[in-house]
Symmetry: C2
Subunit: 189 residues, 2 copies
DNA sequence: GTCTATACACGGATAGAC
DNA sequence: GTCTATCCGTGTATAGAC
């Protein structure tokens, strides 16, 4: 073969990483296959050697992104209140609001995932539930884990719609305070 | 004139209402001008007698939707704990999850609003801040109002990504419980 | 596997008749 | 104000050469 098996893997990985950034920046339906390929220095036609359709790419992006989020947010198993606080601070930060392309996929792609076919949503559910389980274990409460997860996602969606940095900051700070307060009340396992 | 001034107003209103439904169902960038006009029984070309561009329509949709949300969620001024609970129950319900086209625009259009130009985001900010003020007055806390607003939006975004109704219900119920508990602790003004 | 070329549908927007 | 026709760009996807 003129191209090594390794080459294909590497190209696929580059495509996934680059496409995830583009999708989080501009929305997945907005970006075209041609643009996604050009972004990694290839032509549009080469796309279909890696994915049979754009939808299949989306599923792969969602899986990759959420696996990464699980990694970032669930920690290495030993999660104490300090690490938890650091996690929250990073998620509910202005830099996260300002750089959607580098952050969590749920606030940006949530609506698009919700409109996708079953394959994508099943993938999303699997990873979201893993994320939830991880937090529920740390917090000692299934309900609280879902509530905090929702609130974090919502805070970013709301803050990103706004124009004024001060108001954005207020939104982030409010969720951060309410969550910290609730966790302090609850105590960790 | 062959068409009354009233006719234009009515057509514009029909277009706005119908387009909002389409946008909430399929995403604004996904739907085409032609489809939006056909949905109210007109041809695509007639669109530009009402809006100079698709973006201008989006701004109008956002304003109309958020004004409506403010109306639904802020109540008529006299908001007691019973009305508040009814509001939350409706927002965090399975029918709201299942029928995005009939519900709040923030969870569905939030990401698209965030990517829009300043005109749209300024309109969004104005109405979101009014909504916040209304809730803050009721709750007696700016911070709590932002936190609850974010959590409600986030819960819908998260629930809609999922496939299994039981998990969706759990997400909704968790946020509902946490919010009710927090409000009970806080007390109303 | 990647390229160029292409088929084909649909996007937003405009022009002129009624 | 609405229609039909049209311009022009872009979208996804495929075919065949290398």
């Amino acid at each position: 073969m003129r191209y090594s098996a390794n080459h294909k893997m590497e190209t696929r990985e580059k495509l996934l990483a680059s496409s995830a950034v583009s999708a989080k920046k501009s929305g997945f339906s907005t970006v075209g296959v041609d643009g996604l390929m050009k972004a990694i220095g290839l032509s549009g036609g080469a796309f279909y050697s890696h994915f049979s359709s754009k939808d299949e790419l989306f599923k792969a992006i969602v899986e990759r992104e959420l696996a990464q989020s699980l990694d970032r947010l669930s920690g290495d198993g030993a999660m104490d209140s300090v690490k938890l606080e650091r996690c929250l601070k990073q998620y509910l930060s202005m830099s996260h609001v300002e750089q959607p392309e580098a952050g969590c996929a749920l606030p940006v792609l949530g609506a698009e995932i919700a409109r996708s076919d079953m394959a994508v949503r099943e993938a999303a559910q699997t990873w979201i539930c893993r994320l939830h389980e991880s937090w529920a274990r740390i917090l000692g409460s299934d309900s609280l884990a879902w509530a905090i997860l929702s609130q974090c996602v919502g805070a970013l969606v709301v803050a990103r719609m706004l124009v004024t940095p001060q108001v954005q900051r207020e939104v982030l700070k409010s969720s951060h305070e309410e969550i910290s307060r609730r966790i302090a009340e609850q105590g960790l396992d």
